[in-house]
Symmetry: C2
Subunit: 259 residues, 2 copies
Amino acid sequence: MKSAINTISLIGYGNVGSHLARHLRSAGIKTTHIYSRDLRSIEDAADELGAVAIDNFQDLPKNQLTLICVIDDAISKTIEQIDPQILIAYTSGSVELSALPKREHLGVFYPLQSFSKNQDLTITEIPFLIEATNEAFAQQLFDLASRLSTKVSYADSKQRKELHLAAVWVNNFTNHIVHIAEKYAAAKNLDFSLLQPLLKETIHKLDHLSAFAAQTGPARRGDAQIIDEQAMKLEGLEKEIYLLISKNIQNTYSTNEEL
Amino acid sequence: MKSAINTISLIGYGNVGSHLARHLRSAGIKTTHIYSRDLRSIEDAADELGAVAIDNFQDLPKNQLTLICVIDDAISKTIEQIDPQILIAYTSGSVELSALPKREHLGVFYPLQSFSKNQDLTITEIPFLIEATNEAFAQQLFDLASRLSTKVSYADSKQRKELHLAAVWVNNFTNHIVHIAEKYAAAKNLDFSLLQPLLKETIHKLDHLSAFAAQTGPARRGDAQIIDEQAMKLEGLEKEIYLLISKNIQNTYSTNEEL
């Protein structure tokens, strides 16, 4: 049986890397080495973490996990440059294990959350999805994640991709829909802050209702007159989006007998 | 100058009516009469409020405000049956004052929120939008709303309609997008609760970021390969919605120089 992970090396100090390093430290897992091609860019981070800043992959310690928190496109190239005996995990939702250079110890340590600079998160609530090229290493990563969060599970690359697509709807698309509303409000000189309580309540409701049950509004009621009136106020792609979503809401409830 | 409103009559005890009556009572405004065609349906409500249950519009007191909280389509017919000297306000976002029977005292008392049974709301944070056929009555309604909420403003029927359209995006459409994600997760046997923290954080971020600034994801990065891969997993209207929103996100950032 493998021993617990108490130190790591870190590659990539963006939103994900910086959040994880801080939370790992709070859980007693020390980042001893932090890599960047540009040493100056990680000086402060190294200071804060008490880590050594390195700009050469040869300086990564051989006997500890290296956590890769770089953008999807850079993961494969980064892995290629790292000594094959080093254990590696990466934090991407959509890069498949099988798409990367083969190695004995390669794993996924994926926090299903949207991290932003300067915004603290309750790490214990963040789901971590774990996968690895071998079972013992997967178990080690699972144990590591369990020291941060109460919501750790195994997910293979296919499941992780499906969750990533669901996450695109839940995060990227809801956010863009809000952007369309913000833009419309600005164009009409409306104070968007009037809509903030509604936005919060929309999501708050989903704590105990399915979105299916929580649906309200003109499309839900099949109020064709208001749908037409509102669509007339829009143009271009946004009008198309308005009409398509309204149609999909109408279809959802006209073909569904659950209500 | 008109005196403050301390008692009201209520027509309609659905989500809006029941929430408002309780909050008005907490603010010292008593509902003395509550109307329904079916007296039994309001027995409990009348008991709770200490009000008289009536099933005849002739029994509405002449000297106090009647608040109409019925569905949009029923507002006009309800008003027609009420003695012309009675002050009336209604709670709809999209029904124009000018579309209703003319009377000296007719006003709008619109809480911009989505009310649900069994879910308490912080009434002080809910925006109230006020409009009336004359200024003194508008002022009375404004004062009444100010006893419930710190966010009261005047808005004419045109502005209220525009806010209602923005609210359709912010509430109805974000909710439906989440429904699509829930449905996809169910079809793929994914545990949707894994996505709940992401959903909360999506909206939490918008407390201090615009949705424009908060946007992330494949479309934001212009990652055509992931967009294609993900669209292939969808079909029908939902595939169309996926592609249209992705395209609109790409257009938003490629034509905008703010970043």
